[in-house]
């Protein structure tokens, strides 16, 4: 069994670590690229959202590298992600790419449904080892997120252009290379030093921008045209409403690990604007917008794939947040036709607007 999974930003690092800890042979698909998307667009349904098309491309490319089994997450709606795996399986079968699918669904009747599937992946490893593997994976996810957060802070102030990107990829590969909890500890410290070592100009003025929206387009840089990097290079310190480790803590550990930002706060903050969950991360998007505005951020960028239903609802109520808290926001919708140049123009204009606003405000103070 050679296992693969879809890409979503740096998800491959913790997931690979977890599976290899269990002794499973892993094939990481090539990073999402134009070719991946082209494959997905060719075989996927026209009106499906972009993550499905990228998933499909990932699977096809991983199969070329010898993968025969796919691990995929499931769901119970109302976001259409819950039906991704089944549609993808049918498409793969039709184009002669018959791969086994192990879909990790939230159990409908009994927890045993999930246990059976985990056992299929883990083979005859003990439950203790499974738990250890999950712990190891989580630690890696946290380490990766910390590196990413450090990069968001460093980028707008870097002295040498490109220094942050270089440090970022170095730190990531260090974490990726760690194969045990002890090694990971060392790698984590080392990567922290690397990120701290990026030379910066401390008093360069920066704008603070909160990036909110749908989880896949937030986490996968290919799908958002490396939005956060562009914002950083334009002189904005970015924070993102969803990090992988927070998501894992919220949804898989049910908030077991304390001290992390949780979706509950976001949902509570969304209350006056959106009083009911709408699937996906719609309510979190609105709530995070409120939280960022309260924390004094200069602007917000919402990003989601074309036709994403929960985010459209969020987009409909966001003007209320923008008006009440007097915070500008930009909505970016991604699909296979999005181009980087168009995005750059819009980001530059948005940043110009924000910095002028900030200057005027400070002048009046």
């Amino acid at each position: 069994m050679r296992v693969t999974f879809p890409h979503m930003g740096n998800l491959y690092i913790p997931l690979k670590a977890m599976l290899e800890y269990l002794g499973v042979e892993v094939v990481v698909p090539p990073p999402s690229s134009k070719k991946t998307l082209t494959l997905g667009v060719k075989h996927g349904p026209e009106f499906a959202c972009m993550p499905l098309k990228l998933n499909l491309g990932n699977f096809i490319e991983a199969r070329e590298l010898g993968a025969d089994t796919v691990i995929m997450a499931g769901g119970c709606g109302p976001c259409r992600f819950g039906y991704y795996a089944q549609i993808e399986h049918a498409i793969l079968k039709d184009i002669g790419c018959d791969m086994q699918m192990i879909v990790l669904e939230p159990p409908e009747r009994h927890i045993s449904e999930l246990i059976v599937k985990i056992k299929r992946i883990a083979g005859n490893r003990s439950w203790w080892q499974v738990i250890q593997a999950i712990r190891f994976g989580y630690q890696k996810a946290r380490a990766v997120d910390e590196v990413e957060m450090a990069a968001f802070k460093a980028r707008p102030k870097e002295l040498v252009p490109g220094a942050t990107d270089e440090a970022y990829s170095k730190a990531l590969s260090l974490i990726d290379g760690a194969s045990s909890l002890d090694e990971l500890k060392v790698a984590r410290e080392r990567s922290e030093q690397i990120m701290a070592g990026v030379a910066r100009e401390p008093d360069r003025p920066v704008l603070k921008i909160g990036v909110i929206g749908e989880i896949y387009t937030l986490l996968e840089p290919f799908s958002n045209q490396r939005l956060e990097r562009h914002l950083g290079l334009l002189g904005a310190e970015v924070d993102r409403s969803i990090y992988l480790s927070e998501w894992v803590n919220d949804h898989l550990f049910l908030g077991l690990i304390k001290g992390l930002r949780s979706r509950r706060d976001a949902c509570a903050a969304a209350a006056p604007y959106l009083r009911h969950f709408v699937g996906g991360h719609g309510q979190e998007t609105v709530g995070s917008a409120v939280n960022y505005a309260r924390a004094g951020y200069d602007g917000l960028v919402q990003v989601f794939p074309f036709t994403c239903m929960p985010e459209i609802v969020a987009q409909s109520v966001l003007p209320g947040v923008g008006k009440d808290y007097d915070i500008p926001f930009l909505t970016l919708i991604m699909d296979e036709h999005s181009g980087e140049a168009g995005l750059m123009t819009r980001l530059e204009a948005f940043i110009d607007l924000l910095s002028r606003r900030k200057e005027t405000r400070e002048a009046y103070r």
Partner: protein
Amino acid sequence: MNKATGNEKPLRVGIPRALLYYYYYPMWKVFFEELGAEVVLSSQSTKGILAQGLKHAVDEICLPVKMAFGHVLDLAGKVDYIFLPRLVSVEYRKYICPKFLGLPDMIQRLGDLPSIIDVNINLYKKNYDLYAAVKSVGSLFTSNRLKIWIAYRRSLKALHKYFRLLQLGLMPDEALAVLENRVKNGPLPYPVDLNVAVIGHPYNIYDPYISMNLIGRLKAMGAIVFTAEHVQQKIIESNAARLPKKLFWTLGQRMIGAAFHYLERPDISGVVHVAAFGCGPDSMTGELIERRARALHAPFLNLTLDEHTGEAGIITRLEAFLDMVRWKRAGAVGV
């Protein structure tokens, strides 16, 4: 809260003629009328109503929701309440769609509207108390608990009668005419020579403006039209159960189950699938239906509607489709 009593002017409750009006209107109407309120429907869908919706909704949203915005705005100023329940789930472990979940919040943002009755209807979990929601709506009109209970029972009865009429093969407007006792002797039906199934969300196919009178046109072209609402729930469920995983959309399941049923029925010559541009569930269920149709070599037409769809284009495609179906039936090879 002012309550309607004796000879006061009754409270007027507005119901937008959009979205699940096509399923639940008979129930809502009986319920409010039993409580002594006057039910006001928004006007028929028109270009003007859609234009209002387009002006106030975000571009990204689908056509039927834009139309619903227009219908709500049409009621503004005419009524005391607008009935716009948050239909989270009308069936165990199934949702409608994220936009239904957020609809009252999106509408609320428009401002300058009569008070909105946006009670949550959520049957996703088994132990949900639907009657509690009914009571909270009813208490806006009367404090008499018994009256609310009777109104609820009568409204359920009306709904069941309506669904039975639909299953007899009536279209929603015909069924409503029967319920309201205003059946007239219409013109003689067109001569028909084939059966066609139209599969789509009820608010798309039954709204004559959104669908550009698709059903009427098919009838005029000599087809008897079958829809998902004509199929019994049992048949829908057994057909939808053939999917590898249960669908979590009520309307999606209805469409899939009915489409699978009609695709295999020998007396149905073709299936027309109507989707709204940008509809999430349609993008998934449409794909599944199309795959099945291809596997069965059944005539299948997919129409995607948005506010820019032109009437002429639809007519051309319908004519071409029916021509193809007729050739195929006559034994043409390679169709």
